[in-house]
Symmetry: C2
Subunit: 124 residues, 2 copies
């Protein structure tokens, strides 16, 4: 499987809360990091538990795009819970065996554009 | 050039404030969007002007990673200005001629992790 296909399978497993399949896609020593909060999770069991328990509510995920090469990929998802939707951006690194070894997760929140940009952009 | 190489050339041009080269890498009808602010810039001239005038200060960019396939790619950069550094994440789509047709830009700010995650993650 290409990195893109592995990431598509990853999101399908997350969306289905299929933690067994999720665990089978990540390396035993997988490392997950959120640069914005400086949170880190290390190891397959801890990572599956983080996914199962770390996101309360009846959320669902929709994959917007996946781009990738041979051993790494990046995805944009829409994460929805309680009527709110926000984008999530993940980068994935894979080992030679095709398992995901590293996940870097970003959650970009809305913000007001800087005042100096008025006239340089339009809004949609 | 692969999408990865085009994106590497893109960041080299931005970092050098080489607006002529930047313009040569994007399509005439390039579209730039920031989902967090819902800002949009359309067209090569407007996009080069946005880059030249939209980011005040003596900033510099450092490319952390680029992942990509044939016609699209994603990058993580560190954007530094006035002693502060923040990550920037961009997705790029390329046309058949190798020019960048679409740029989707995210600026993920730091935030405090949700309380329910204590015990599921460590901090670094």
């Amino acid at each position: 499987m290409s990195a893109k296909q592995v990431v598509a399978a990853y999101w399908a497993a997350v969306g289905a809360r299929d933690w067994e399949t999720l665990g089978s896609l990540v390396a035993e020593d997988v490392r997950y990091e959120v640069p914005q909060t400086r949170e880190r999770v290390r190891g397959r069991l801890a990572y599956v538990r983080f996914n199962a328990d770390g996101f309360p509510g009846d959320w669902h995920v929709e994959v917007e795009r996946i781009t990738g090469g041979g051993r790494d990929a990046a995805s944009v998802i829409r994460f929805s819970v309680a009527g709110e939707t926000q984008p999530g951006v993940c980068f994935f690194d894979l080992g030679a065996d095709g398992l995901i070894t590293r996940i870097t997760d970003f959650w970009p929140d809305p913000y007001e554009p800087p005042a100096n940009r008025v006239g340089l952009t339009e809004r949609y």
